[in-house]
């Protein structure tokens, strides 16, 4: 794909979405995250808010200050100005280590998910912990990150039924992605592990949302006792998750 190939679609009266692909790929996600940063940094009059989903960037604007045609033209030019699919990750992003317990009562569907991916449970844990995943986008609940992308074998579908509830901190997988649930919720994804990660602290003055789009997240396989100890000893109250800055 060339740098300028984007689709710009309307989102009602006061929004436009810039699509870099119609399915999730790493380059398209990289583009959506970087483009969001560039539009926000441009500081155009009339732009109210910019966010990124898996492979598109959303721009909310005041249509009387900035009309659709003018904003479309600016977004088209900005999209064509460089190869966004090869853009750098946002500055100041963090590399997280998140302790997680896999299998057993903490991940009751590990074996089932592994089988769907054609892996043994041990191989599955290795796949999920070998390399850092990336926060592709945040959504469904405040601070809840869609992490990816997992190796091709993990293009496993969602379950046909819903698991009535998984607890906060549950690590679930489907469609080459992993999610740590920010709060207890029903899900069609398979529950393979458990963390104590705190995704959202509404009263935190500086960083109410723990992860940011583009952050790297590496799961650290531990036993249940270690997870509890690290969560309890965590001075930040993030459930034992630690981070280092990237270059």
């Amino acid at each position: 794909m060339i740098a300028s190939s984007v689709d710009i679609v309307p989102v009602g009266l006061d929004g436009l979405a810039v699509r870099f692909a119609d399915r999730l790929t790493d380059p398209a996600n990289r583009a959506a995250v970087a483009f969001r940063g560039a539009v926000a940094a441009a500081g155009w009059d009339g732009v109210r808010e910019v966010s990124s989903a898996l492979c598109s960037t959303y721009v909310s604007f005041d249509p009387r200050v900035l009309d659709h045609a003018a904003l479309t033209a600016r977004l088209t030019d900005l999209a064509a100005s460089r190869d966004w699919r090869a853009a750098a990750w946002p500055e100041g992003r963090r590399v997280w280590r998140v302790p997680a317990v896999f299998g057993g009562g903490s991940g009751p569907q590990l074996a089932e998910a592994a089988a769907a991916a054609g892996r043994t449970p041990e191989e599955a844990v290795a796949d999920l912990t070998a390399a850092p995943l990336r926060a592709l986008t945040l959504g469904f609940a405040p601070g809840q990150a869609y992490l990816g992308t997992l190796p091709k074998a993990w293009a496993i579908p969602r379950q046909t039924g819903l698991t009535p509830t998984v607890p906060a901190g549950a690590l679930v997988v489907a469609v080459r992605q992993a999610i740590v649930f920010a709060a207890a919720a029903p899900t069609g994804w398979r529950h393979v592990g458990q963390t104590r990660l705190v995704c959202f602290r509404p009263d935190h003055p500086d960083r109410p949302i723990t992860l940011a789009p583009g952050d790297a997240v590496r799961f650290d396989p531990v036993d249940a006792e270690t997870l509890e100890r690290r969560a309890e000893d965590d001075p930040e109250g993030l459930g034992g998750a630690t981070w280092t800055p990237t270059e």
């Binding site: 009266l13 979405a17 966010s51 898996l54 598109s56 005041d62 945040l138 709060a183 509404p202």
Partner: protein, 336 residues
Amino acid sequence: MSRSLTVVTAPPGLTVQDLGRPGWLAQGVPQGGAADRLALAEGAALLGQEVGTAALEMAAGGVFRASADMRIALTGAPARAEVDGRRLAWNASHLLHRDAQLAVSAPARGVWSYLHLGGGIATPPQLGSRAAHLSLGLGLRIEAGAALPLGDDPGGPTEMRLEIADRCGGGPVRILPGVHTALFSEDDRARFAATGFRRGARGNRQGIALDHDGALFAAQGQLDLVSEVVVPGDVQMTGSGQPYVLLPECQTIGGYPRIGTVAPVDLPRVAQAPPGAPLRFDFVTLEAALADHATPDDWVRRLARAVQPLRRDPADIPDLLSYTLVSGVTAGDPPP
């Protein structure tokens, strides 16, 4: 705590609301805020306050007691409001005396009623807003006996009213293309626009279900859509094919197909449509929608000019004078 409003009874659906939390979409936090933003603007105009002033949103009324003399206004879905047995006018401002008890019934029409207070509700903001989004743990869960702190009220007129066109019985709403509109066939879009929907039984601050007779509306490749931005006003086809119109507590991203997005100025009519009310969606051009576009700030500015005294008799002359001072213009049209 100086001034407060004590909640004597707290029926379900009683929450503090303002304009919510813009600016957090990228972090997955929905904007939330009042289901009917026009009602928020009406209350702000009546009390001469900022549109973002936090008010009480009521789905089934409530009973309240004043800790001090305070100005109040009632807007949104009209309900029966009484102070110690005396009936209060709706879409109007009043003076509530210290220790007076205000009882608001469930709405007679519509879904969301609002009680505004001079100085606003002053619960601690989270992420820049006092709006409750209870499923996310944001805002106060109001229980009977709670004393809601109020902000300072610099004062202003009371016993003022607004003439408000009814928006609590459904009707036509304008809709514009959204992220997935192009995935619906032209025939389905035309059929959607021609369909007489009814507001379904299911509904909350996240969205309302739409019932209709006839075939469902399906998008091309709809089982395989990648998650994209979701905004209030999106008309979404759920897994079963039933359409929902999304409201302020909708999620920030999602993969269900959306046939279009309701114009922001018509969302109050959608939110206030009670179960069974007719709703029809007219696709309009950008130009047409822009001509009628208004933000909550615009609403307050226009409404402030339309505020008029509740009664016209000599005793109200001081109110008239103070009204003129507050708004900078004379009262608008005489009451009918």
